[in-house]
Amino acid sequence: MTILDVNNLKKVYTTRFGGSHVQALSNVSFSVEQGEYVAIMGESGSGKTTLLNILASLDKPTSGEVLLKGKRLSTIKEKEISSFRRENLGFVFQDFNLLDTFSLQDNIFLPLVLSGKSYEEMSWRLQPIARKLGIEDILAQYPYEVSGGQKQRCAVARALITNPQLILADEPTGSLDSQAAEGLLRLFKEINQDGQTLLMVTHSVKAASHAKRVLFIKDGEVFHQLYKAGMSDEAMYQKISDTLITMATGGARHE
């Protein structure tokens, strides 16, 4: 079943007085199936973040459409967009985006509290997730008291706790040391094996090599894609590297 459908997405930024136009996305189309683990790669300025913001309904495309489980994002009313985002999407950010004012547990609860869930339900939902992510012991602590890896695991827990259709991750390993990054990627794989659909935007070849499919974006378009199929992480790593080199040296476009 298709979870996410992206059709002919185009985004043009205009400076405030309409002076100059910058085309961030020119024509992007792809779809994500239920249970997939997709990585999107591209150089800085290739339009990755713009794409993610549009998928997250934080930004609107100039033309084209995004369908989440068959529902067109552009048809959702302004008032409902936040609750829609809360219930259907989970987010993991490069800089964690945990609030210093809350304990880790309260940070994880935040989206549920906003949806008006009771404390009992929240703690009942948290238990299995916390156990899986290995953060049971630090729940009472505050973000500034724990390591980057622990913070990111809590952010993952916050994304998972709403049982979202899709988790969007923006450079999730970007602020982590190699060991913590390795741990997080293993975690993503496990979550994916449990049936969670994941979409990750990343720079890191290492991170992308864990995904089942990698999309390459260049100059605002999907340039190429790779399927992992039965490949090992190492073989995938090699393949991604080769593709990136080809892209950088101006190779011809192929699907």
């Binding site: 934080l58 008032k79 967009i81 936040s82 987010f91 985006n97 945990l98 609030l99 989206p111 008006g116």
Partner: protein
């Protein structure tokens, strides 16, 4: 060339930081103006030459000291806030290759600009407005307004002296901070991880006890005398209580709320409670300051306003009759001569004394210790709160004036206490012991006790023999010329102020020669000096009130701005994890509202509890019109709240702009 560069950079910096620097410069200008005007008034010769003007100028020069001290603390505080915000900028300069001495140079130029602008505009404004304020003051004092315009030399000298000092102080403080800091620290600026505040139960307890104690004192104090002594204790207790409860109490309450899971995990409460916890940690002291300042403004303005408005009342209370004469009558004289002189004067003016009141009495002061009174002046302590004034009146005069036919035995007395309560059953004074036969609830109107803030006792004794004996014993004990008794004569006149004033002058000459120790009073004669003192207080109350309001406004403004920058990141995250823009706005609004109005509401509660004790204090100043004071207080609070609400509106706008700029969706 390079000097030119620094000067230019400093100017650009000021322009770029206008949002925070403009209010600061405006405040500097305002403070300079106020200080100039205050010094101008206290040194003004025209004012000094007017009746009561020198009293007034004493009050005003006191006011100028208050402004000077206040300006120093306040501008210093505000400036340190500005610098805190700009540390990152300095760090950047440093990393881009500017040495600390270069940054210092830029800062020196900046301070120079601010100083020149503030002093220039402030002095100009001060000179222009001083005439206006002078006229307002004279209007308040009921004086004629002289023509002409003057610039005060002493004020022109004093203002730059004070403010150059203040600016130098702020500059030195900044340079010290820049000098001590490392570039990386400068870059990080204020964003060090905030730890969660701890609950300090002892502080909460101290806060509750002292606040409760302060309120309790205000509520139970019955006599004006006690009010005077206890007012300052109450003020200090309330201040301590406010600081403790704002800092520790608020955290304790928020933590209790957080422990209540059913309450805490609700959309409305969740972000508010956690947000408030951090706000209170950072701002509790500032908010307590605002609260205390607001309370001070409200008390000061409402009391001075009601004293000024109620001046006629005060005059009437202080001088219950149009003409009042009291004199010791020497042994070889009688009071009849005095009566004759007064009647002659009245006949000359074709006037008749109305509500004529005359009685004989003995008067003395003493330390009351239980039922015994010490009257020996070598053993008396004037500072003690047990000082009482005693007036002994013969039964004959009392019965005549009250139309009673009471009887008294040899050592029996009737006692009436004003501004105090006499609780004993006997009274021993000058080696004589009296038994209290009756405690009187009321006494005939008289003015003897109006200037004494201590307790007063009116004691009705059997006859003139007792009165004379007491007066004699007292004189012997302290080695005075013995006079046989005291005499009081007071009456009203059905005439205009000018006529009363003429009668007053004539009586002074007629009576003064025969009775050199007599005291002759009239509200007409006292009016000018009353206007000078109460009008001066009124003026000072309003003037300082305006200054304090300005300070409060600025502190609030800076608080909101700095919080805006801190909150920005927080609210961006909340939007990203699924809070709608409306929810974010609601959450911001409720928190900002609480932070803003907590001090005002607390100040209101303080005022409500202070009301009883302040009415007693005003009674000491002869203002007994509680209704008037209540209206003035309510009015002052209303005006203040209005000001506050306007500031809130303006500040909230700036805050929203900071928080929402750059957020998407």
């Amino acid at each position: 060339m390079s000097r030119f560069f620094y000067a230019k950079l400093a100017a650009t910096n000021l322009k770029k930081n206008a949002q925070t620097h403009l209010p600061y410069i405006l405040t500097c200008i305002g403070t300079v103006m106020m200080y100039y005007i205050m010094v101008f008034l206290s040194e003004n010769e025209d004012l000094g030459n007017m009746a009561g003007g020198s009293n007034m100028q004493t009050i005003l020069s006191l006011g100028s000291y208050v402004i000077a001290i206040f300006a120093t603390i306040f501008l210093f505080y505000t400036h340190s806030f500005l610098i805190k915000r700009r540390k990152k900028e300095f760090g950047l300069f440093n990393i881009l290759g500017m040495e600390k001495k270069h940054i210092s140079k830029v800062l020196m130029f900046e301070t120079l600009y601010v100083a020149v602008i503030s002093l220039g505009a402030g002095l100009l404004g001060g000179i222009l407005f001083s005439k206006l304020i002078f006229m307002v003051l004279l209007k308040i004092l009921n004086f004629e307004v002289p023509l002409g315009f003057s610039v005060s030399g002493p004020a022109l000298a004093a203002v730059p002296l004070l403010f150059v000092g203040i600016f130098l102080l702020t500059l030195l403080n900044t340079l010290r901070q820049i000098h001590l800091a490392k570039p990386v620290e400068l870059l990080k600026g204020g964003q060090t991880g905030e730890k969660e505040p701890k609950t300090k139960w002892p502080l909460v307890m101290i806060g509750m006890l002292s606040l409760g104690g302060g309120y309790y004192i205000s509520l139970i104090t019955k006599s004006p005398l006690a009010a005077l002594n206890k007012f300052f204790i109450a003020v200090i207790l309330v201040m301590v209580g406010t600081y403790c409860l704002f800092t520790a109490g608020s955290i304790a309450v928020l933590k209790l709320l957080r422990r209540n899971k059913g309450y805490y995990y609700q959309t409305r409460h969740f972000t508010a409670v956690a947000g408030m916890m951090y706000r209170m940690k950072q701002n509790a002291v500032g908010l307590a300051n605002i609260c205390i300042m607001a309370t001070a403004v409200l008390v000061m303005v409402s009391t001075t306003v009601s004293l000024y408005i109620g001046m006629e009342d005060v005059l009437r209370t202080r001088y219950p009759q149009n003409i009042m004469i009291s004199t010791p009558v020497p042994a070889h004289q009688s009071a009849e001569g005095l009566q004759t002189s007064v009647h002659e004067v009245l006949a000359q003016h074709r006037l008749e004394g109305k509500a004529m009141l005359d009685y004989r009495y003995a008067a003395f002061a003493g330390n009351q210790e239980g039922d015994t009174v010490i009257t020996d002046e070598s053993k008396m302590s004037n500072a003690s709160s047990s000082v009482r004034q005693f007036y002994m009146i013969p039964l004959e005069d009392y019965n005549r004036l009250t139309n009673r036919t009471a009887g008294l035995g040899d050592n029996e007395i009737m006692i009436y206490s004003s501004r105090n309560v006499y609780e004993e059953d006997t009274l021993t004074v000058l080696n004589r012991t009296f038994t209290v036969k009756e405690r009187l609830d009321s006494f005939f109107e008289n003015s003897l006790d109006r200037v004494s803030i201590m307790g007063n006792y009116y004691i009705v004794v059997k006859d003139m023999d007792v009165v004379k004996a007491m007066e004699k014993a007292r004189a012997e004990e302290n080695g005075y010329d013995p006079s046989s008794y005291q005499y009081y004569l007071g009456f009203d006149l059905d005439a205009n102020e000018a006529d009363i004033s003429a009668v007053y002058q004539d009586i002074r000459t007629a009576v003064g020669s025969d009775y050199p120790d007599s005291r002759i009073e009239s509200p007409v004669a006292a009016k000018a000096s009353f206007f000078a003192i109460y009008g001066g207080l009124f003026f000072l109350g309003i003037f300082l009130g305006a200054l304090f309001i300005m300070a409060t406004v600025l502190i609030i403004y800076y608080k909101q701005v700095s919080e805006g920058y801190d909150d920005k990141a927080r609210f961006e995250i909340m939007q990203k994890v699924g809070m709608s823009r409306e929810e974010v706005k609601d959450s911001i609004r409720s928190q900002v509202l609480i932070v803003f109005f907590l001090p005002l509401v607390t100040a209101g509660i303080h005022i409500a509890f202070a009301f009883p004790i302040i009415t007693k204090l005003l009674a000491v100043l002869n203002l007994t019109n509680v209704g008037l004071f209540a209206w003035c207080t309510a009015g002052t609070i209303l005006v203040f709240a209005l000001f506050y609400a306007i500031v809130y509106g303006l500040t909230a706008k700036v805050y929203y702009r900071i928080v929402s700029c750059g957020t998407s969706a």
